[in-house]
């Protein structure tokens, strides 16, 4: 055993200039030190803006200008990496330090076959050529758990799944037998079942090839399954470090504790996330009457509010001269019903048709077959236009992408009240104060109603989206992955808000997510979907504790296990 660590970073500071003179700077990394021993997997955890990716880039000399390495040292095998020339870095990258990107589809070259790309990496870094290189390529793919390795060599990236592509990226990364691999969110773009097996491969490679791995991720579950040692960063500053179990379960710092409390658990359902410093909401009185009007109906009685019977959706590719149109069934014969006041979750991997169901209920997509009955009436059968409008407006939606769900040219307040004014639900004179009240209701500042969307963060924009939906006094809100674009602490706050609003306004929620843990925390009943079919439909406890369908079980097994904070 030698005592020199494989990689050692001391007091690293990286800055971005905030103005053209460079007098004002943003410290992307502030005095960061870390150490990696050979064969060790360390995790770097933090929310967006924490500077996790900047560390990886700084090690390889890949900082994008105008970012600047101001001070500190990086030593790899005892040699300093600070101030190396581009040529020296090039002999290091790929050869001794590998890099794995977040999205395998963009990391691979779409016009070259897998074989060409793997052998290219081999020929660049070793003496093997021709047949030898090809045999070595097959070996590498097999080591990275790529099935049918020999056949895959002729394939192009688009013919393979995301998980397979990521494995091929692994194979390329280990071609030159590097000592260290920096993996930047390697599984974020993958579905949960794929994620767990890809992580297994990563661990196996680390052990068999004795490669140290720096795993950069925002996902606490992934860290708890893979890493030996964890660093927690926030806004470029070091918060906490230590053995994984210790940091995740008995964190010393306030920030780490609140971060861990925000992680939705799959093991048990909590009433709400126990966030330490959640601000108490300022009361509103002016427009509460408007918002709560028509809500006298008893919502404790389990009346069905929405009934979906055998709906299907078929998409067609446009027919051309050479090819007839092709049908793709996104949703097949799905039936379910939602009772007043409850939250029903639809969970499934990408392409399972879960969002399409919601879009059909909202009227954004035509229903190919079957029908949707809301409050006892099929929307398409209502002839009275006023009744039809009221019906429409009582179903609202919270969208997935906070960065595109608000009109960028309208202020937050206008975004919230524009439709209300159009439909004359409110007096235009009251629009502004109603918008302000709604802003307060969703936990934003009253005066921020005059700001344009670009001055809000993702979580705040999502709150504006919720305020917009509430303005219509809906009974039913379709939540389309409302937190998938947000950091985990922001997600926890938002989910708490949704629960509060649901109680206050007796809302019924249909909650779509790919994240089982979020569904576990939010929903009373759960529908599991795969390839357009509803496989299982049951209560929260039944689905998560006694899953019947094999697919549900495999989904649950694939979830990274994180026990949550130790109870003290």
């Amino acid at each position: 055993m030698n005592n020199t660590p494989l990689l050692k970073i001391n007091n690293l500071t990286v800055t971005y200039p905030l103005n053209s003179e460079g007098s004002d700077v943003l410290k992307a990394l502030d005095n960061i030190s870390l150490k990696v021993n050979s064969g060790q997997i360390i995790g770097i955890v933090g929310e967006s803006g924490a500077g996790k990716s900047t560390i990886g880039k700084a090690i390889l000399g890949l900082l994008d200008p105008p970012a600047k390495l101001v001070s500190g040292e990086i030593r790899f095998l005892g040699n300093s990496l600070v101030g190396l020339s581009e040529a020296q870095f090039e002999s290091l990258r790929g050869n001794q330090i590998g890099y794995i990107y977040q999205n395998p589809m963009t990391a691979l070259n779409p016009v070259l076959t897998i074989g060409e790309q793997v052998t290219e990496a081999i020929e660049a870094n070793t003496n093997m050529r021709g047949k030898n290189a090809r045999e070595y390529a097959i070996q590498l793919l097999e080591r990275a758990d790529v099935s049918f390795a020999e056949d895959r060599l002729q394939k192009y990236p688009h013919q393979l799944s995301g998980g397979l592509c990521q494995r091929i990226v692994f194979a390329i990364a280990i071609a030159a037998k590097p000592k260290l691999i920096i993996a930047d969110e390697p599984t974020t773009a993958l579905d949960v079942t794929v994620q767990s097996s890809v992580l297994q491969t990563l661990i196996k490679l680390s052990q068999e090839e004795d490669i140290a791995i720096i795993l950069i991720t925002h996902d606490i579950g992934v860290v708890s399954e893979t890493c030996d040692y964890v660093y927690v960063l926030r806004n470029g500053k070091h918060i906490e470090q230590g053995a994984t179990v210790q940091v995740l379960e008995k964190p010393m710092q306030e920030y780490t504790r609140s971060l861990m409390a925000s992680v939705p658990l799959i093991e048990k359902r909590l009433h709400r996330f126990a966030l330490p410093n959640e601000g108490k909401m300022e009361g509103i009185s002016t427009h509460l009457g408007y918002l709560q009007e028509d809500r006298k109906e008893d919502f404790s009685s389990n009346k069905t509010i929405l009934k979906v019977t055998n709906i299907s959706k078929t998409f067609y590719t446009p027919s051309t001269l050479f090819k007839p149109k092709e049908a793709f069934k996104a949703v097949r014969n799905v039936s379910f019903s939602v009772n007043r006041g409850e939250t029903v979750g639809i969970v499934g991997e990408s392409g399972s048709g879960k969002s399409t169901i919601g879009r059909m209920i909202l009227g954004l997509e035509d229903i190919t077959e079957g029908n949707v009955v809301y409050k006892g009436k099929d929307i398409n059968s209502i002839t009275n236009s006023e009744e039809r409008l009221a019906h429409y407006l009582s179903i609202q939606c919270i969208f997935q992408d906070p960065y595109s769900s608000l009109n960028p040219r309208m202020t937050a307040g206008e975004n919230i009240t524009y439709g209300l004014k159009i439909h004359k639900l409110i007096d235009p004179k009251n629009a502004k104060s109603l918008a302000q009240d709604l802003m307060v209701l969703v936990g934003l500042q009253r005066q921020d109603a005059d700001k344009l969307p670009h001055s809000f963060s993702g979580g705040e924009r999502q709150r504006i989206g919720i305020a917009r939906a509430l303005g219509y006094r809906p009974d039913f809100i379709f939540c389309d992955e409302p937190t998938s674009a947000l950091d985990v602490s922001v997600q926890a706050n938002l989910l708490n808000l949704l629960k509060d609003l649901q109680e206050q306004f007796s809302l019924t929620l249909l909650f779509v997510s790919h994240d089982l843990a979020v569904i576990r925390q939010m929903c009373d009943r759960v529908i599991v979907m795969k390839d357009g079919e509803a496989l299982e439909n049951g209560s929260n406890e039944n689905i998560f504790e006694q899953p019947k369908h094999a697919y549900t079980r495999s989904l649950l097994d694939a979830m990274p296990k994180f026990q949550g904070l130790a109870q003290s």
Binding site: L362, L389, Q396, F399, N407, P408, G465
Partner: protein, 301 residues
């Protein structure tokens, strides 16, 4: 309700951020402003009204620059065959050329943007009809189309504006449609649709402000294109009527005298035309560069 003062401040800041540090673009902008002011103020600052036949004296015909006229004034840029002061004629010509180009660009862009939005929102046969019309227009050489139009409808200031509008609208429609289509993928449009906001409001309040930026960037280009096209048509004699000479017509007038050494009749309007188009193009290039981060980053390296 709208705070115009605040908007004016933001606009001037925006103009400053576009032009600061780019001396050539600033020079272009100043030049363009001077040309526009000259055109607007021509009736008051021109030494002579070139349309008023009473002030023209045939005895002053074909005088070189800096000559004294019969009424004792100096003709700085010389006179043409009928004794018209070239400086005054150029000022009035500039006025007409700019008017025609402004009208054609504005009306053409409005029509184009509207049709582009309509195509994007309606889809189906409406979109097909509009976009095939665009294809048809684009497949003709612009100048040929304008010549045909003018041959059919006759000449006149209004007719040439129509002919230029035909040239302007198609590219704007195509551009607006493509940027509106990408906006329509965004969730705020879905949010408006589930709130049953009527299509025309979605077009005006949601799509228009968010998809018009690329069209605005193209407008200066189209303005200089229209000035050039109008000059070409007038030079060919199918443009503005001979009684209201534009820059192109002035150049055509002097064309016959070029070989006999009377160069000033054509050259001065020509110089003004070239510098006007140059000024606009320099400004247009800068605006385009400012709005396209890709071009900007290429310049930085």
């Amino acid at each position: 309700m709208i705070d115009y003062k605040k908007k004016l401040v933001t606009l001037s800041l925006q103009i400053k951020s576009i032009f600061s540090g780019h001396p050539i673009a600033i020079a272009g902008l100043i030049g363009f402003v001077i040309f526009v002011l000259t055109a607007l103020l021509a009736p008051w600052i021109a030494p002579q009204n070139p349309y008023d036949l009473m002030v023209l004296d045939i005895m002053d015909g074909l005088l070189p620059p800096l000559s004294k006229l019969g009424n004792g004034t100096t003709s700085w840029l010389g006179t043409d065959a009928v004794g018209r002061d070239i400086l005054s004629a150029v000022m009035y010509g500039l006025r007409l050329s700019l008017f025609v180009a402004f009208m054609a660009t504005t009306v053409g862009s409005i029509i184009g943007v509207f049709l582009g939005l309509l195509a994007a929102v309606k889809g189906g046969w409406v979109e097909s009809v509009i976009m095939r019309a665009v294809d048809l227009k684009v497949s003709f050489p612009g100048i040929l189309l304008a010549l045909m139009m003018l041959a059919i409808f006759g000449t006149g200031v209004d007719k040439i504006i129509y002919a230029l509008i035909i040239g302007v609208w198609a590219s704007k429609a195509r551009l607006t449609r493509s940027s509106a289509l990408s906006e329509m993928q965004k969730e705020y449009i879905d949010a408006a649709r589930i709130s049953a906001i009527p299509n025309w409001r979605i077009m005006l309040k949601f799509l228009l402000p968010n998809s018009i930026a690329p069209v605005l960037v193209m407008i200066p280009m189209s303005l200089s294109g229209c000035i050039g096209a109008e000059a070409t048509l007038s030079f060919l004699g199918v443009g503005v009527p001979i009684t209201e000479p534009s820059l192109g017509l002035l150049i055509a007038n002097g064309n016959d005298y070029l070989l006999s050494g009377k160069w000033w009749i054509s050259i001065f309007p020509g110089v003004v035309l070239v510098s006007l188009v140059l000024c606009i193009n320099v400004v247009a290039d800068r605006i385009r560069e400012h709005n396209n981060p890709f071009l900007k980053s290429m310049n930085m390296q």
